[in-house]
């Protein structure tokens, strides 16, 4: 049985950063991912990474912007840590080889981003996430002696010992279909978000909430799950992302009547108000009939000098051309709000520890909570790196002086039986997996989107339950072992349905409007009753349990939020 001090599931930025930190702390480390690490969704974070690194900027200012952006639901102790450690982390990245944009003096240069009171976003053209991900992978290739890589291995569950501590995982080697039990003193979940529970979404097809559901199933509470970020600029139909960098560089938003409507909703910050505000404004314009017939508004990037666009926004020039047939340097592009990010996730402390001893979570899979009700652009890369590193260090520390646990072989047999049963399901009896997934995504995007209400959420809840039931008999075509992506699709569907259930329950529970959650039936923020986190925990086969936890306040009292 392979055994490692620290076993990391997911190899995006959080996972790779955790691996490098844990290896640096002397632990024996392995990192496992269902895709090759450079295929991870961190690639998609185009715009940049925030840090108060300029002498005239301060971490307090960055922290306040983040607190305000979170609509005061973010935990301020965690936000302080993230913003304090951000400058050091950006410099560390630079030293590892990230090709950050420079100013004319050859120093790190910045761009403006939404919801921020200073230009503090460091970037590599509009491929920042990709550049970071590939540079960290360079470091993994360099450290191949201290970090083992299991690439294209799919985790089916986290294993606990008799005392309830996490002691390893069970995973399937996608290449040959073999199942293996891995022992680990600490397990770090870093497997990203659950955007595929929505359709369309900016999220990659791999973002199926695996880690969120794996932790949830063994009893870890999920926090702030109702907080789903709709990004203001996504392409209609396929949901492909147009980076916030476009607005950072000076692009404007117009409705079909040619009005720059953000003047109405955020007179000071305009297009660079926080994402929840801009998305809601766009959706209001569209709902009130001032959008285009395809249910969109226009993003006008022609305001940005063409040369600058080609240099700094090259990727979206390509995206406009290849995925919308529009030359964004010459004409506006139609966009709408689209599912983008889940602020919620597995509840952790500031070291990434979940409620289950030995189980950590970092990155989008986790909820520390630094994003609260709404994440600021360019804070997600930061979140993955800061808390990935902290989780890696803490997990390595925990492993010291511990003996290697020996997880029970029975769990392996159970998982093998589960997979065999899926493969044996009778074809044509139930529904196709793709049908269920499609219905789930379309429904979530209709009823659990920018604007929500009791009736819609109640229906959503009932539909998720029905789909969960139908998923039990959903059948597949592939009976093979080599790259059987079909059977993995069934397991992923189960993960997405668990996430969707928690999202809907959180949204039903929160009877107020805060951050990304806007309830038409409770349109005001209600600090007296709802300035608290909502936690959803699994409860055997019964209805999941709801509980609350306090929001940690350090120095910023809730204020009215205007941009």
């Amino acid at each position: 049985m392979p055994a490692h001090d620290v076993l990391i599931i997911g190899a995006g930025l959080a996972g790779q950063r955790a691996a490098l930190a844990a290896a640096g702390a002397g632990a024996s480390v392995a990192i496992m991912s269902k895709v090759h690490p450079v295929r991870s969704h961190s690639n998609a974070a185009a715009g940049g990474i925030n840090a108060a690194l300029n002498v005239d900027d301060s971490w307090e200012s960055h922290a306040f912007d983040t607190v305000k952006g979170s609509d005061y639901l973010g935990d301020q102790d965690a936000i302080e840590i993230m913003c304090r450690e951000a400058p050091g982390e950006v410099l560390w990245l630079e030293h590892q080889g990230v090709t950050f944009h420079r100013n004319d003096e050859g120093k790190l240069g910045t761009r403006a981003f939404g919801g921020a009171s200073a230009a503090r976003t460091y970037y590599v053209a509009d491929i920042t996430g990709q550049a970071l991900l590939h540079v960290l992978y360079e470091q993994l290739m360099k450290n191949y002696l201290t970090v083992d890589r299991y690439e294209e291995w799919f985790v089916t569950s986290v294993v606990q010992d008799d005392a309830g501590e996490a002691c390893g995982v069970i995973a399937r080697n996608i290449r040959d279909g073999s199942m293996e039990l891995f022992a680990a003193k600490s397990v770090i979940l870093a497997s990203g978000g659950a955007g595929q529970a929505f359709k369309p979404t900016t999220n990659a097809m791999i973002c199926t909430g695996d880690g969120i559901a794996q932790a949830y199933r063994i009893g870890a509470p999920l926090m702030d799950m109702e907080m789903i970020q709709y990004h203001p600029t996504t392409l209609a139909g396929n949901g492909i992302l147009i980076t916030e960098g476009a607005r950072g560089e000076g692009a404007h938003l117009y409705n079909a009547q040619g009005e720059r409507f953000m003047e109405k909703y955020a007179p000071n910050k305009l297009e660079l108000a926080s994402r929840d505000v801009v998305s809601r404004s766009e959706q209001t314009e569209i709902n009130e009939g001032r959008g285009f017939p395809d249910g969109t508004v226009a993003l006008d990037i022609t305001k940005v000098p063409r040369k600058r666009t080609l240099e700094a926004l090259r990727e979206i020039v390509n995206i406009g051309r290849d995925f919308a047939g529009v030359d964004i340097t010459r004409e506006p592009i139609h966009i709408k709000p689209g599912c983008h990010y889940i602020m919620g996730g597995v509840k952790t402390d500031v070291w990434g520890e979940t409620s289950i001893p030995g189980l950590y979570a970092a990155g989008e899979v986790a909820c520390v909570s630094v994003h609260g009700g709404n994440r600021l652009g360019a804070n997600s890369l930061l979140d993955t790196l800061i808390f990935g590193r902290r989780a890696g260090e803490h997990a390595a520390d925990r492993a010291k002086g511990m003996s290697m646990p020996v997880p029970s072989e029975k769990s392996l047999a159970d998982e093998q039986a589960m997979i065999d049963a899926i493969v044996r399901r009778e074809r044509g009896v139930g529904r196709r997996v793709s049908e269920i997934k499609d219905e789930l995504g379309t429904m979530m995007n209709e009823k659990v989107a920018v604007f929500r209400d009791q009736d819609g959420l109640t229906e959503a809840h009932a539909i998720v339950h029905r789909l969960k039931d139908e998923a039990k008999s959903a059948y597949i075509d592939d009976q093979g072992t080599v790259f059987n992506q079909d059977v993995l699709g069934v397991i992923e569907l189960g993960y997405m349905l668990d996430c969707a259930e928690a999202i809907v329950m959180g949204a039903l529970e929160r009877k107020e409007s805060r951050g990304a959650q806007f309830r038409l039936d409770f349109p005001k923020r209600n600090d007296a009753e709802w300035l608290k986190h909502i936690n959803v925990s699994a409860n055997g086969g019964d209805e999941p349990k709801i509980s609350y936890s306090e929001v940690t306040m350090t120095q910023w009292e809730p204020q009215e939020r205007t941009y």
């Binding site: 030293h95 590892q96 080889g97 360079e138 191949y144 097809m205 063409r306 666009t309 290849d322 790259f483």
Partner: protein, 378 residues
């Protein structure tokens, strides 16, 4: 909805059967991608079709395939465009796994066995000299923009798939890994520029193994232009560091350029001896002797005549001389770069030199102006 016929190359290693073709129909808007078409077929008809995929937006590099004989990302090719290109095949969009790599199942290839192994070969991490500075490294803005072109590589393997040199020499380090090598050689923070270049020059499967076929530039969905990066490595190695490799690559390249400058058309009889320092150079003698059988066969079959072999009558016309003069006349080398290739027509006052990275490297490269080119907009 328009209908598209997709012919997929299927292979299941467990079946014991050889690979076979299977046709399917997808009905989707023509602006949706070939990947969307395949996923629709998977969802509706046959979930066992194997293809790696994730982002759908040409950034994760998972879905490298060959479409009607041309490598690229399945998510980056519109169905209608693919159909148009497939006219010769009766409009059937034919999708098969990438080349130069073993097939694992259907459209999935073993990238570890080839692509990633080669990547590891070029020491793909930054090796700075000395301790890190307290703050960031201060480096020219242009240098970072310059290496960002190679950072734009998403490791999809499309260039490796259709690399002709690799087909002939499977040990060739190849376009993707050598482009990655440039990412460090071109990075002023790296302290091993000379060592890297010597290593890649001396390796018989290194930078001089490329035959300039342009396939990788055509294949790359991100405009990385791997061949241009290989040529830059050669120029920096040969011209800036004076690295005379044991493969005779650098001398051969110089001999080739001089040959054209002199003759306008290649005079092959001179090329070989000149590559080894001239007809009477001790290094050239064994090479000339070893090429005698080929020359004799050529004579026998009338491909070579003694007159042609000894006297090259063609002389470089003035136009060719002008080109050489212009290129040699520059103080600095010009390199085209993806991230600075856009001309600002609106601001015609702005000079063209912004569109070119001035700096370390040599004579104009074969164009890497693929910034404006996409497989979908040719």
């Amino acid at each position: 909805m328009p209908e598209y016929t997709l012919k997929l190359r299927r292979y299941s290693p467990e079946s014991g059967e050889p690979a076979y073709w299977e046709e399917f129909t997808a009905d989707l808007d023509g602006h949706r991608s070939v990947l969307d078409g395949i996923l629709q077929i998977r969802d509706r008809e046959d979930g066992s079709i194997g293809i790696r995929h994730s982002c759908r937006a040409a950034i994760c590099g998972s879905c490298g395939v060959s479409i009607n004989g041309r490598p690229g990302l399945a998510c980056h090719m519109h169905l209608e465009e693919a159909q148009k290109r497939a006219e010769r095949d009766g409009g059937v969009i034919t999708v098969e796994p990438m080349g130069n790599m073993p097939v694992l199942k259907d459209l999935i290839v073993d990238m570890d066995a080839v692509h990633w192994k080669k990547m590891q070969r070029v020491t793909p991490w930054l090796i700075p000299e000395g301790e890190h500075p307290e703050r960031e490294y201060i480096v020219p803005k242009e240098a970072m923009v310059d290496v960002t072109q190679t950072m734009a590589c998403i490791q999809c393997g499309a260039c490796v798939s259709h690399c002709l040199s690799m087909e002939v020499d499977p040990l060739f380090i190849g376009p993707a890994a050598l482009a990655k090598a440039y990412r460090f050689v071109g990075d002023p923070r790296d302290g091993q520029q000379f060592e890297r270049l010597r290593d890649l020059s001396e390796d018989p499967h290194g930078i001089y193994d490329c035959t300039h076929c342009f396939n990788c530039i055509e294949a790359c969905p991100k405009g990385v232009a791997p061949m241009s990066q290989i040529m830059r490595l050669r120029r920096i190695a040969g011209s800036d560091h004076g690295i005379e490799d044991r493969n005779n690559g650098h001398r051969h390249e110089n001999a080739f350029v001089k040959n054209i400058e002199r003759n306008g058309l290649l005079h092959e009889a001179d090329l070989l001896p000149d590559s080894y320092g001239g007809k009477f150079h001790p290094r050239a003698v064994p090479e000339l002797l070893s090429s005698l059988p080929i020359a004799l066969r050529g004579l026998q079959r009338g491909k070579i005549t003694p007159k042609k072999a000894l006297l090259h009558e063609h002389k470089a016309p003035q136009e060719v001389k002008d080109i050489f003069q212009r290129v040699h006349g520059h103080d600095t080398r010009f390199e085209l770069n993806l991230y600075v290739s856009g001309k600002d027509e609106e601001q015609s006052g702005e000079q063209d030199n912004h569109d070119i990275v001035e700096g370390a490297q040599a004579h104009g490269t074969p164009s890497s102006s693929s910034a404006e080119r996409s497989p979908n907009s040719v």
